[in-house]
């Protein structure tokens, strides 16, 4: 196992190493089958001799098929175990809550602020030019300390619980470096959780075609140390 699967960007998330290991052995196994099959095709073609009609179905069909079935089953079981670990349960209660909102063609990240509660939003108040892209309701006392950022900043080593939503069309929230992807569907809020491990700058891309600006709907995840995060969020809070 290398720490860097073919072409994949370096992994920066706690759960990513297991995914990369799975990806690696799957790719190796299937690439091996690919090469073997093509060697077989090539030899079958240059062979002049014919073996007659009677190949044993057991040897040519059933046994190899059983072997492949075992391989597929093994892949499925190991992948499902990992999927269950990552997705079957919600985030831990102490996880950092961030709300991610996609809209044509921008990502917004909202932190609940010192009161740990997100303020109410109302669709009719949505107005990016007026500085209220999410439609925060000023009548709700919880919304006053909410922090809205266009950069996702997360502390390393601390679990993040992202609530992903969209206000217009379906977007795809994709952080390749965190091995994380989840569609943002209007009318629903989807939660994903992960723990960023390595500080650094990670691209966030939109992975679901969302209109003419789809390709430029990109943002940054900034993974920083705990103290840097505290300083960042405090500065953001003061600016309001």
């Amino acid at each position: 196992m290398t720490d860097h699967v073919w072409w994949m960007p370096p992994n920066g998330a706690l759960h990513g190493a297991a995914i990369d290991r799975l990806m690696w052995w799957n790719l190796v196994a299937l690439a091996t089958l690919f090469v073997l099959a093509h060697i077989f095709l090539f030899i079958a073609l240059i062979r002049r001799k014919s073996t007659g009609h009677d190949l044993s179905p057991m040897r040519w069909e059933y046994l190899p098929l059983i072997a492949l079935t075992v391989l597929y089953a093994w892949m499925a079981v190991s992948a499902q175990k990992l999927w269950a670990t990552i997705r079957y349960q919600g985030a831990a209660p102490h996880a950092l809550q961030v709300e991610v909102t996609g809209q044509q063609f921008q990502w917004y990240f909202r932190y609940p602020g010192p009161d740990h509660t997100f303020g109410r939003t109302r669709p009719e108040l949505v107005s990016a030019p007026a500085g209220n892209p999410l439609g925060l309701d000023p009548a709700d006392p919880h919304s006053a300390d909410d922090i809205v950022s266009s950069v996702l900043t997360l502390p390393a080593g601390h679990e993040a619980d992202l609530g992903i939503r969209s206000i217009d069309v379906i977007h795809g929230f994709f952080i390749p470096g965190m091995r994380v992807k989840q569609n943002a569907v209007p009318g629903m809020e989807m939660h994903i959780h992960f723990t960023p491990a390595t500080p650094g700058d990670y691209p966030i891309l939109c992975s679901q075609i969302c209109g003419l600006g789809h390709a430029r709907m990109q943002a940054h995840l900034n993974v920083v140390s705990n103290s840097e995060f505290e300083a960042w969020i405090a500065a953001k809070g003061r600016k309001k």
Binding site: N26, L41, R87, I170, P176, G187, I209, L212
Partner: protein, 567 residues
């Protein structure tokens, strides 16, 4: 009989109810669609590597223009090429004669299906010329992007035309499927038992059943979406919808997820609709060119049925990251892994057929055989990435990246198209009474193989690097994508080679139709009944692949013979 098409005056061909002429018309329609679709894909490849280049006719392509190209390319290729040609074109051409019938069950319905498909194509192409241009939401057209005209250019009239076109296409496909189903069930000649049907006919049987399920659901979905757009219903539009900073008129509790389920309930069987006829043809051609019966005929029939059955149960694997419940992801992952088993079984069967070797009396590797081998190669290469994408935890990284583009272009597009080429080279004598040029055919094959692998194999790497599909440009505020420019440039050049090579095919078609070597009645010494010249009534005396008699004087037995006068 095989030459009867030639004897007809060309002017009568267009308004005919003769199944062969309709088959040819379908194939010509597909040829038009594939030509346009290929030109669109070349425009896309040019745009990705040099966005400011002025294209002929099109001019400089804006980002939404790129997405319009993507949408129309996908729609043309999936519906009008990979469905129309193998399912309607070749089935109309040879299905009745392969089961010893003189005509389809409903000849007029067959003609109506063809004309509906033609109208559907015309309506689709009109979308380029309306204000706003063609739709930009991809061939899957997820709402609300597809449900609200203000969501983007092309989403107004262009989107309506797309929905209208696909609605008509669904209708044509359903009528065609009913026709094929009734023909296969009720029109078989005496002696043509189910287990004597050629594997192509089995494929068309399963395909027709899948079409009835899949296209009726798509038709319903299209009607619902049109109704959301024009009659203020709310099937797919959620409450609190805001587009461009404006709240859309209040909608009740619709959900875009409903469209995803309906669309992919169509969309996944559609893949098998496109590829099952290719599988049947591959078995038949391998038997023919190795001069040996199909290895495990019964096994091939069973795997075809299993693929059809599981094909209806796997649609959720397109939706692992869509917001579907993670437990449902597990269920769909398991059905998807299950469908890999019959598919692998078929590949093993074909490999065994190759291993038995071929008879030296046959010309070593005629062009249809080459393209069949190409199909096999692409099917293996594209198929092997299936088990990776079937796993939600890996798909959650690869979903909607170039890895997926590589996967389905290899297994559906390239495998499908190579099988279509095999079919054209193989059945061309039925249409024209002439063989296609072998030398041009071989150049066509090898250059296409090179171009196709050069185009689609490197896309796996772009996908692993995390590059999403549908990106009109490689720039943007993050720097990762720009570094993929050399890879994308190489892909574009391979795509140009692949497209240019198809000119050889067009030249070959035109030249061979007039000057090709006359083929005689049964140039491939095939067993199946489309090559048996009978004038009225035939009877099936043998199984479909009686090639085993190489020691006797007759190396094969034609399945059908003329029915003797009343005994």
């Amino acid at each position: 009989m095989s030459l009867s098409v030639q004897q007809k005056a060309p002017s009568h061909r267009l308004l005919t109810t003769d199944h062969r002429s309709i088959g040819i018309n379908y194939l010509l329609l597909s040829l038009v669609a594939v030509t346009i679709g290929t030109i669109l894909s070349i425009f896309m490849r040019i745009h990705i590597v040099s966005p400011m280049l002025k294209l002929p006719i099109w001019g400089v392509v804006p980002p939404e223009g790129y997405l319009a190209l993507v949408t129309m390319h996908g729609t043309l290729m999936v519906f009008f090429v990979l469905t129309t040609a193998p399912v309607n074109g070749f089935a109309s051409l040879v299905l009745p004669s392969q089961i010893g019938a003189e005509r389809m069950a409903f000849p007029l319905l067959n003609a109506i299906s063809f004309w509906l498909t033609t109208i559907s194509l015309a309506v689709l192409l009109t979308a380029f010329f309306v204000p706003g241009g063609a739709p930009i939401s991809g061939w899957t057209n997820y709402p609300p992007l597809s449900a609200i005209p203000a969501a983007g250019p092309g989403q107004a009239t262009g989107m309506d035309l797309w929905l209208l076109s696909i609605g008509i296409f669904c209708l044509a496909s359903i009528l065609g499927a009913v026709n094929q189903l009734v023909t296969i069930i009720s029109k078989r000649c005496p002696g043509m038992t189910l287990m004597r049907m050629p594997l192509t006919v089995w494929s068309w049987l399963v395909t027709a059943i899948l079409i009835l399920f899949a296209f009726s659901i798509l038709l319903a979905a299209v009607v619902l979406l049109l109704s959301d757009r024009h009659f203020a219903t709310s099937f797919f539009i959620p409450p609190g919808e805001v587009i461009n900073g404006f709240a859309v008129d209040p909608h009740a509790n619709g959900s875009p997820m409903l469209w995803l389920h309906l669309f992919w309930f169509f969309g996944h069987p559609e893949v098998y609709i496109a590829i099952l006829p290719a599988m049947g043809l591959t078995s038949s051609l391998l038997a023919n060119f190795t001069r040996k019966p199909v290895f495990g005929y019964r096994f091939m029939v069973v795997t075809t049925l299993l693929i059809g059955f599981f094909g209806l149960l796997v649609w959720g694997h397109h939706m692992f990251v869509s917001g579907m419940n993670p437990y449902a992801g597990t269920a769909f992952a398991l059905t998807t892994m299950a469908i890999a088993i019959p598919s692998s079984g078929k590949v093993l069967g074909w490999m065994a057929m190759l291993w038995r070797g071929r008879d030296s009396r046959v010309h070593p590797l005629p062009t249809p055989m080459l393209f069949t081998l190409g199909f096999l190669s692409f099917f293996i290469t594209g198929g092997l990435t299936g088990p990776i994408l079937a796993q939600p935890v890996l798909d959650a990284y690869l979903h909607n990246t170039y890895f997926v583009v590589a996967h389905f272009h290899l297994i559906m597009a390239m495998a499908g198209v190579f099988s279509l080429f095999a079919a054209v080279y193989y059945w061309f004598p039925l249409i024209t009474g002439r063989l296609m040029n072998e030398r041009l055919g071989k150049w066509h094959f090898w250059l296409s193989l090179l171009g196709a692998y050069g185009t689609f194999f490197p896309m796996h790497f772009a996908g692993l690097a995390g590059m999403p599909r549908h990106y009109a440009q490689l720039g943007g505020s993050t720097s990762t994508l720009t570094s993929l420019m050399p890879l994308q440039t190489g892909i574009s050049h391979s795509a140009f080679l692949l497209a240019a090579t198809q000119l050889l095919f067009l030249v070959n078609l035109a030249w061979s139709a007039r000057r090709g070597q006359p083929s005689g009645d049964n140039p491939w010494r095939a067993t199946t009944a489309e090559w048996t010249p009978v004038t009225k009534g035939c009877i099936a005396r043998y199984g479909p692949y009686e090639y085993r008699h190489s020691i006797n004087s007759a190396d094969f037995f034609q399945q059908c013979a003329e029915r003797p006068e009343q005994e």
